[in-house]
């Protein structure tokens, strides 16, 4: 337990320091969402209809942006060797790293959502719905993205491969995330059904992600 909390604390600390990943993700999210009203034009009705989708896309791309370094940095400086050798099961270490990534790079996106909602002409209810769906859905993005990050280490290929591998896995999350937000804002569907599926996706990836990532890292030992 000490080992896992030490790993989480270290990763969060590194992400929050200058040059860490946390700020990069939020800045990217900010950029995408701020530019969107300029691209779409001054149609407020259109903007608020597109709002949830824009926020979700921004969050998805922002989390992809920082995920590919999840294991690569540890692999390059030799930390991954020591983590593999340690008494902590590799699956738990992977889960701890993903949790740290979500805390440092995922949570700030959710915190930034209410501010960015203003730019997209979303009212309080709509912003709250999007933030809630992001809270339920971003763990799924992190934990499925982790599988791609582990494969990128195993196959010695960086960024692009990881994006190609992970994108199909994150499409269901995007669909149900946006569907749940839209249901809360305009109806007529119930909010419950897509939101439950979104939560289910997160829970499933929480279980499968660490095992798949650890298996990939073990397979790539060399």
């Amino acid at each position: 337990m000490t080992a896992l909390s030490a790993l989480v604390r270290r990763d969060v600390r590194i992400a929050l320091r200058v040059g860490g990943g946390a700020l990069i993700g939020v800045l990217f999210f900010l950029t995408v969402v701020v530019l969107m009203p300029f691209a779409v034009g001054p149609d407020l009705a259109l903007l608020s209809r597109l709002g949830p989708a824009i926020l979700w896309l921004g969050a998805l791309l922002a989390s992809l942006l920082t995920l590919d370094r999840l294991f690569m940095a540890d692999h390059e400086d030799g930390s991954l060797d020591l983590i593999t050798m340690s008494r902590t099961p590799l699956e738990l270490a992977c889960a701890a790293k993903a949790l740290a990534h979500w805390l440092a790079a995922g949570l700030p996106l959710i915190v930034a959502t209410p501010v960015l909602g203003l730019l997209l002409n979303l009212d309080m209810v709509a912003t709250g719905a999007v933030a809630l769906t992001l809270l339920a859905g971003t763990p799924a993005l992190t934990f499925t993205g982790m599988i791609g990050a582990a494969l990128a280490v195993t196959l010695h290929r960086g960024g692009l491969l990881m994006a190609v591998l992970v994108l199909p896995l994150s499409i269901p999350v995007l669909i149900f995330g946006v569907a749940a937000s839209q249901a809360a804002i305009i109806g007529p569907m119930s909010f419950g059904a897509p939101f439950s599926i979104l939560c289910a996706l997160s829970l499933v990836s929480l279980v499968i992600g660490p095992f798949a990532a650890a298996a990939s890292l073990r397979h790539g030992l060399d």
């Binding site: 000490t2 604390r9 270290r10 590194i14 200058v18 390059e76 400086d77 060797d81 050798m85 340690s86």
Partner: protein, 200 residues
Amino acid sequence: MQLSGSGIKCVRGGREVFAGLDFAAASGEALAVVGRNGSGKTSLLRLIAGLLVPAGGTIALSGGDAELSLAEQCHYLGHRDALKPALSVAENLAFWADFLGGERFDGAKSLATVGLDHAAHLPAAFLSAGQRRRLSLARLLTIRRPVWLLDEPTTALDAAGLDMFCGLMREHLGRGGMIIAATHIPLGIESRELRIGGAV
């Protein structure tokens, strides 16, 4: 305690690096693995550490802690020193001490032993190559494990650093530990030679 390997075969990238390698090391003994570049010295250390899977043969530790695997009783000091540039010297050491677990000694004292106590609050990014090596050595002192796997451990150390390191190795052997080091230059302590792949 006895670490032994028999008939170890190592294949990397479809090429056979070495085969039929036998070795044995007992408590208080240092084994210097020598051989030319590419002969598989690092691969042997990584096989022992469980970071590579042998294509044949077995490696076993007898007389150690029965609850722990071989890798969990080894310290591996590789080319890459597993330090995070964004964290301070003390934070780097404290993380590995927390993460590796087991019997733990005072980190500040280890830093003083390797001569880094004055730099404890400096980010590791500002350390020189020799200082990074010293910080990695502090990890070996803070968490005690019986088997040290050292890959070119003396790289970047200055003369005083070498003396300090020899003292640490002797102390470790005196406590009943064992050392397996891949090296090109003499280790500086009494050691048995294990030659891989013919004459240098």
